[in-house]
Symmetry: C2
Subunit: 352 residues, 2 copies
């Protein structure tokens, strides 16, 4: 791994199969010429896909895997039976220091379970968190975490998510001091669950190094009121899917409106290039690449339905993270969180 980055890619994941993965790698290889790829999966199938991309020969090594984990397999089953599968081996390459990051468009639950089992959480981090990028009308997305890795999070875990989200956003977008908010049902100090109020106090009391803006509400996510929205996996998952459902419904309303009569249809035809751009703006694959944060390794999940451009976008995220110092930054703030705890304990001893 001496010169340049090595990415471990699950060649078999995603709804569209290896062809889309390989095309995504081809786009990424042009974008990141110093990067090499380990491509895990069925040897003959991957060879066939690679035949169409002779330029990849120099930067891709195929690693034969004897099986694949289906999109439907339960995480528990994947943990028991997944050894030797392309997804498993792709994670293993990071564990074995053969690669700097792993990217897969495969089964999310299985990917999270295997990555968690093989890579383990970073020192001081209790639970991992999954990120999502959500459009807000500006150039940079709103990042929300956790959106489904950790269903219940206590105050300290929420602060760990805030620390991880902050470092992640800086690595992704190069913003020195991203704004951090805690998702709640109101902006006032006394609102919401006790864990959330306690998390806000912890961030302030332990002097965690971040631009913390306090509580934000559900409509602040798409408004982009802060850069990083912190919440537990239950609330984050429901909020994210609520947003996806709403965007899909408005899209459906728009289609219905623009096909409702000859005048509307003519209007839509004239506005077609603008509407196409709108569609692209709302397309999930333009902000593809969810990250499973808090592990000893960079773990990036591409949307199962992403096309080649989408898969390449997920690889972009992996490259940016692997090149950054986000794990050192996380470790630094996690140490403050821990040091604060020691100090509080010491103060309590002194007081008594």
């Amino acid at each position: 791994m001496a010169d340049g980055l090595v990415l471990s890619i699950d060649g078999m994941g995603g709804d569209a199969g290896p062809q889309t993965v390989v095309e995504g790698v081809a786009i990424a290889a042009r974008r990141w010429p110093q990067t090499r790829f380990l491509l895990h999966g069925d040897e003959s199938e991957l060879a066939r896909c690679l035949d169409r991309h002779p330029a990849l020969k120099a930067v891709v090594s195929v690693r034969a895997a004897e099986r694949t984990i289906s999109m439907e397999m339960k995480a528990s089953q994947a943990l028991r039976q997944g050894k030797g599968a392309s997804l498993w081996n792709a994670v293993e390459a990071v564990k074995d220091d053969e690669a700097h990051a792993v990217v897969s468009a495969g089964n999310t639950g299985a990917f999270m379970a295997i990555a968690m089992f093989r890579l383990r959480t970073m020192a001081g981090v209790h639970r991992p968190a999954l990120t999502a990028g959500i459009p807000n009308g500006r150039a940079r997305m709103t990042v929300m975490l956790d959106v489904g890795a950790t269903v219940e999070a206590d105050a300290e875990q929420l602060v760990e998510f805030a620390i991880m989200g902050e470092a992640f956003y800086r690595a992704l977008y190069g913003v020195e001091r991203p704004m951090i908010g805690l998702l709640n049902v109101g902006a006032e100090d006394q609102k919401g669950h006790e864990e959330i109020r306690a998390a806000a106090r912890l961030i302030r009391d332990r002097r965690i190094d971040m631009d913390f803006r306090g509580f934000v509400e559900g409509d602040d996510i798409c408004k982009g009121a802060v850069d990083v929205v912190v919440t537990d996996g239950f609330t984050g998952n429901i909020s994210l899917k609520s947003i996806e459902g709403a965007a899909r419904l408005v899209g459906q309303f728009l289609r219905e409106a623009l096909t409702s009569g000859p005048l509307a249809q003519t209007g839509a035809a004239l506005a077609y290039p603008a509407l196409k751009k709108l569609r692209k703006r709302m397309d999930p694959s333009t902000n593809n690449g969810a990250v499973f944060l808090g592990l000893n390794g960079v773990v990036v999940k591409s949307h199962g339905g992403a096309n080649a451009d989408g898969f390449a976008a997920a690889i972009d995220v992996a490259v940016r993270l692997a090149r950054s110092h986000y794990r050192d930054e996380i470790a630094r703030n996690i140490a403050r969180l821990g040091a604060g705890a020691d100090q509080s304990a010491a103060e309590q001893r002194d007081a008594s």
Copy 2:
């Protein structure tokens, strides 16, 4: 109250003030000719507004109130200082059996607090719940509850919300067996918080009389996968506001797309009638009227920013509920929930 319905209206609530309220009442009075209205607020101001609507003279009685509760006042302050305000008196008229329902576009927190304090929860109902109607592309909205009255709900309270939501949906839309779902992060039995899994078991074990469809996810809300989505006030509030934020953002994207150049603008002009209908479809005031369920009285909150049509829509909700037997139906299912508890206790005694 012998013949016909009497509605108690807070004449001073809402961003636009008494004029909009009175115009909303005028629309409702034409729609529901047998209904009378008690209009609470500043006597001279209301008289001035009513002057423009001579037809209302016969059905509206003005009840002078010496003050109003501002939109910014905290709920706790409203409880201490609100006595004699238009909102307070409007609630009091239901408490005193002078009116069948109360409608206000005023301060939500103050309205909930005063209604809760004066009307109290129905026998067997532990906590109230606030409803929201969310578009789903069909004629009838998805109803979600709770969206902010009860931040934390245990399993039994979630079942009470399901029972209230079911009866509410039937009263509102005349659907005999509305489909009920519990909001969760997956459809499988083992997903989510323990309270939610326990609530699902309770609905089945106690044979609550409803068409219960199990767990639904965030994107099922705008899909209309079920008629009634049940959740706690924390999750419901965040989900609802996430949806509102997403819809607003897509609307903004659409406006930007359709003003991005002369061709797009011409297209938008041609499609204008269709786009206007789309706008109406997404306008919150067309599905106005949130209900504060579980109290001894019908309590309807109109959106603060609703126009006269919106306020009339909130009155529609109040009329439909006041005419229905929804509180008897709630009481019947609540009794099942209680009886099941007695039975379980008896079974446990027998087993030991």
